[in-house]
Assembly symmetry: C2
Homo-oligomer: 140 residues x 2
């Protein structure tokens, strides 16, 4: 693989706010609401977002460091190791996470969402519509 | 928004290979196969990936530069502008794209996938299972 000519640098567009830390069971997170506090300067980028919409939240696994190419699923040593690209593990070559959530409230630059499995303080990198192959139309 | 204490740097884990460029209609890309040539050193990270699996491909919009917070959907000036976070536009604060694809072949470090709307030479950042709220089980 030749070195990339691109500088692949990201910047947070916001941050997750909830009561969860690394000890919180994932099922608790998934059943709960979290807030996404967007950079106020980017608030206009939410225009047209609708309550009830399902969106992808792209975030940085800021509490993760290092990775193995083979890992036990969910860290369960009773389960056989698998390739990192078949897992949602936070320990990966690029520590970027993606969750699909439901938007339950929008107030200026603050979204409330249900189903976000990311801990308090997680840097948010992007919000997107769900991939459009699951819609009848490729819009938008 | 306070400055992030994290250095958010990515590195490509592979590259897209197909016959598509920025002039290729998106519907053509979605109906076609593309190859993802993974860094050979990361090949073991594919272990357990199954033919027919649906996965997310995370990539860098390397042909994109700059963005507006409000954009016409798909660049169609006949359509009213909307916030970038409601669009899949390549022009966004962090130029990261996500496509959901089907794995149709796996040969060593090269995947063949159907449904990838990314042009030839696109740096690939990650491969992941689809978000697990769409499965009955949260594994893996």
């Amino acid at each position: 693989m030749s070195p990339s000519p691109h500088r692949l640098r990201l910047r947070p567009v916001g941050e997750v706010a909830n009561d969860f830390d690394l000890d919180t069971p994932i099922d608790t997170m998934l059943a709960s609401e979290s807030r996404i506090v967007l950079d106020p300067e980017l608030e206009i980028g939410l225009e047209g977002l609708e309550l009830g919409a399902r969106i992808l939240v792209v975030f940085w696994f800021h509490r993760s460091s290092g990775y193995d190419l083979l890992q036990h699923p969910r860290g369960d040593r009773a389960r056989r190791k698998r390739g990192v690209f078949t897992l949602r593990s936070p320990h990966r070559p690029n520590p970027v996470g993606i969750s699909e959530v439901e938007v339950t409230a929008i107030e200026r630059n603050v979204l409330t969402v249900r189903g976000l499995d990311a801990v308090d303080g997680t840097p948010v990198l992007d919000l997107k519509p769900v991939p459009f192959d699951r819609h009848e139309s490729p819009d938008p």
